[in-house]
């Protein structure tokens, strides 16, 4: 596609540059019309704190841990799937490995045998990490609170950011809870880290009492153990 004349822009007029500048200064070219562009305005710079930027990024793209425990996980699957589609809100890609996940939704009853495993999964997630309690079981033990084997809520074991009540909560409720979490993350709020009643300890470090003495032959000094105490937990 040869031209008869050489291109005018560079040779004899400055009009194109002016036009470009004017474009920049005035209306945004509709092809580039985006909220980001609008926010930038005429300058290619934004001024923000890096922290706020990171929080915004964090809150807008959260990877969930694919973590099914009990009945609530069925509703969680519905939340991921068509109709409710959590992914619309920038947080919905379920990751099978805790090492790739940011958010752990705890959808079910935690029992004594599972509590240490859950703690391990939580520990395997990279920082910063967030936990959403789904359903009354993970909030308080729910309908099974009186059970001899039931941990009365996830919060006994790991720190939790958001509690969603319900048995099971509707998908809408879960979506709302996640949106709230995103809001908190964007605002840079976190839950205080407190010492949990259920901690993993080495068996050798436990205070000796009747029970520890009794189990001394069965459990290795160095193995990790968790005390389960139904009566004294809130």
């Amino acid at each position: 596609m040869s031209r008869e004349k050489p291109r005018d822009d560079i040779i004899d007029t400055t009009a194109p540059q002016t036009k470009t500048r004017e474009d920049r200064m005035s209306e945004v070219d509709s092809r580039f019309n985006s909220t980001l562009r609008e926010a930038f305005g005429s300058t290619p710079f934004i001024l923000t704190k890096f922290d706020s930027f990171m929080n915004w990024v964090r809150g807008s793209s959260m990877f969930m841990l694919q973590f099914g425990i009990a009945c609530c996980s069925i509703e969680m699957m519905h939340t991921y799937a068509v109709k409710h589609d959590l992914d619309r809100f920038g947080s919905g890609v379920p990751r099978a490995s805790p090492r790739q996940a940011d958010v752990m939704i705890v959808p079910g009853t935690i029992v004594s045998k599972f509590a240490p495993r859950m703690k391990r999964v939580y520990d395997q997630m990279p920082e910063p990490k967030f936990v959403v309690n789904m359903g009354s079981c993970s909030t308080s033990g729910g309908p099974f609170q009186q059970g001899y084997n039931v941990v009365k809520g996830t919060e006994e074991v790991i720190p939790v950011d958001i509690h969603i009540p319900g048995c099971p909560p509707r998908p809408e409720a879960l979506v709302y809870g996640i949106a709230k979490l995103q809001e908190r993350v964007r605002n840079g709020e976190t839950s205080p880290v407190t010492v949990k009643p259920y901690e993993l300890e080495q068996f050798g470090d436990l205070e000796t009492d009747e029970l520890v003495e009794k189990l001394a032959d069965d459990i290795d000094e160095e193995s990790l153990v968790m005390r389960y105490n139904w009566a004294d937990s809130p």
Partner: protein, 558 residues
């Protein structure tokens, strides 16, 4: 002989002869001197057998009297003794039942194991040991099954103190690359308890030889949330009914509720009005469709390995069923819809709209099913993965007490809806689906065909309900506020849940709560047969087999 049944076919009343058509005197003769005495349970005669003659008694019942289905083992503690009850049935006719009661003294609760006779007794007896504390002689591997190994005491025993602290270990699972394993040919792989393919919190210890599964052992109990304790502390009338929804939580709620309703109505002699039976049947079959769709979606998730179209389609169709059920019951999953003596309320007004919604779903279903067949069963890759993998022979299945779609896919023609009728099923026109493929593929196929049959049942129910005279829409029988069944009545009853035979044993003690409430979970027995199917197969076939069993951990662990 439940109260939920039509008084048809000239069957005898429950009080006179508990189980239909079994000659108990002949059985007593057969068992000979192993029998100490005889007691009458609501569902069958119980033969009290000496603790050291259990195997003799059970094997003559199995070999000579044809009781080839050990449905359940209940263990319980009385003030003066422990007791194990073996509930036996026949695969050919589950209305023929007999119980073998084995008492043992409190100071030495040891009885002979039934494992050599019925393979399925293995896990049942381990559970009895774990929760109640009875020990079984000659048991191949008697250790805790649901609670952690280091647990102290037996929580369903009488003198268990729940307030005592416990210590739970968090041991690394054995390391397959430890020094002493280096030279071995095999390798240990832990699958779970947190793993997307285990459908919940199940831990599989698989020993691999190359890529072949040499041995697999399931480690369960990660969701043991004390369902039996919960039921034993609730009152019959209202407090127990919400819990069954949470056993098999794959939307099979009403099917589970029916198990409790059936057993409790039997115990309290409650008659359910016919209209309520039709509503029950309709809602229960809707639940079955939802549960089978979940099974289909997650099975394909296992096979295809991602959240792809099939999973999403299954979820989409489940949403439709859940909307219908929500209109009917008020909840998407935990319906709590049945009541003793009927259902809680009638179908929602305007009725025409509700029925139109159901009909629309049913009209759409054939297309949907064709679509699934296109996507799944006619897919060559899928066939390669599932045909002739995870084969379960019918004889083995019976040994393990396998029921439900898994059994029917192995060619066992056993469905309690037809064989031990309850509800309105016997007046409706539908077929029991069986398939002779015995493999993963047939198990899926049976479920898909059962969805079609459920749709047939629902359609007939809707026809009936639409024409039901407005004056005669009785949704609940007149049941007293508090139910105190007579003391020491014992009853075991089962219904066809989504996964198979879901049974409940109740012993009453004259109060308004059960003294013992034992749940027979179909998933528990089905999962026990996993090694038979998976050993010698490739690892991916193990995953496929597990998916095709369609276990729900809430029901396995209870």
């Amino acid at each position: 002989m439940s109260q939920t049944e039509e008084p048809a076919d000239g069957e005898a009343e429950p009080e006179e002869s508990p189980a239909r058509g079994v000659d108990y005197d002949a059985i007593e003769g057969l068992l000979g001197d192993a029998v100490v005495s005889r007691e009458t349970h609501r569902n069958a005669e119980g033969f009290v057998v000496r603790a050291d003659r259990v195997q003799d008694a059970l094997s003559s019942l199995k070999e000579e009297a044809g009781f080839d289905h050990l449905s359940n083992v209940t263990a319980q503690e009385y003030a003066d003794r422990f007791e194990s009850i073996y509930h036996l049935k026949k695969y050919d006719d589950p209305t023929e039942e007999v119980s073998v009661v084995v008492p043992t003294p409190r100071d030495r609760p040891v009885s002979q194991s039934a494992e050599p006779v019925f393979r399925t007794a293995d896990w049942h007896e381990r559970e009895a040991y774990d929760l109640v504390g009875i020990e079984y002689d000659e048991h191949p591997d008697l250790r805790r099954i649901l609670l952690p190994e280091t647990w102290q005491g037996h929580p369903l025993g009488r003198d268990y103190n729940q307030d005592k602290p416990q210590i739970v270990t968090f041991e690394e699972h054995e390391n397959p690359l430890a020094d002493d394993h280096r030279d071995a040919d095999t390798m240990l792989v832990n699958i779970g308890p947190h793993h997307p393919a285990t459908h919940g919190v199940l831990h599989l210890k698989a020993v691999l030889d190359g890529e072949t599964v040499a041995d697999v052992e399931s480690d369960i109990g990660y969701l043991h949330r004390c369902e039996e304790q919960m039921a034993q502390s609730g009152t019959y009338r209202h407090q127990i009914m919400p819990y069954p929804d949470r056993w098999d939580y794959g939307s099979a709620g009403i099917l589970n509720e029916w198990a409790y309703a059936r057993v409790a109505e039997d115990l309290n002699d409650i008659e359910v009005p016919e209209y309520a039976q039709v509503v029950r049947t309709m809602s229960a079959e809707l639940c079955r469709i939802a549960a089978h769709l979940l099974a289909l979606g997650t099975f394909c998730l296992d096979i295809y390995g991602d959240f792809t179209a099939i999973f999403m389609y299954a979820m989409r169709d489940r949403e439709v069923v859940q909307n219908i059920l929500e209109d009917l019951t008020g909840q998407r999953m935990m319906f709590n819809y049945l009541r003793l003596g009927g259902v809680v309320w009638d179908v929602p007004e305007p009725r025409e709209e509700f029925f139109a919604q159901v009909r629309e779903f049913l009209a759409d279903l054939p297309n949907r099913i064709d679509e699934y067949h296109d996507l799944i069963t006619e897919n060559e890759l899928f066939q390669l993965r599932t045909v002739d993998t995870g084969v379960l022979e019918p004889e083995t299945a019976k040994e393990y007490g396998v029921t439900g779609p898994v059994a029917r896919a192995s060619g066992i023609d056993y469905d309690l809806r037809r064989d031990d009728p309850y509800g309105y099923y016997e007046h409706l026109d539908w077929d029991v689906i069986t398939d002779d493929g015995k493999d993963n593929y047939s198990r899926l196929l049976v479920r898909m065909r059962e969805v079609e049959q459920s749709a047939r049942i629902i359609e007939q129910c809707v026809d009936l309900l639409e024409d039901w005279d407005e004056e005669e829409r009785e949704i609940q029988a007149n049941v007293p506020r508090t139910l105190n069944p007579e003391p020491d009545a014992e009853v075991y009853r089962a219904v066809e849940g989504a996964k198979g035979e879901l049974g409940i044993y109740i012993r009453s003690d004259g109060t308004d709560t059960p003294a013992r409430f034992k749940i027979r979970s179909p998933c528990f027995s089905n999962l026990q047969a996993l090694p038979e199917m998976a050993e010698g197969e490739y690892v991916p076939d193990l995953i496929a087999t597990l998916g095709s069993l369609d276990i729900i951990l809430g029901e396995v662990d209870r």
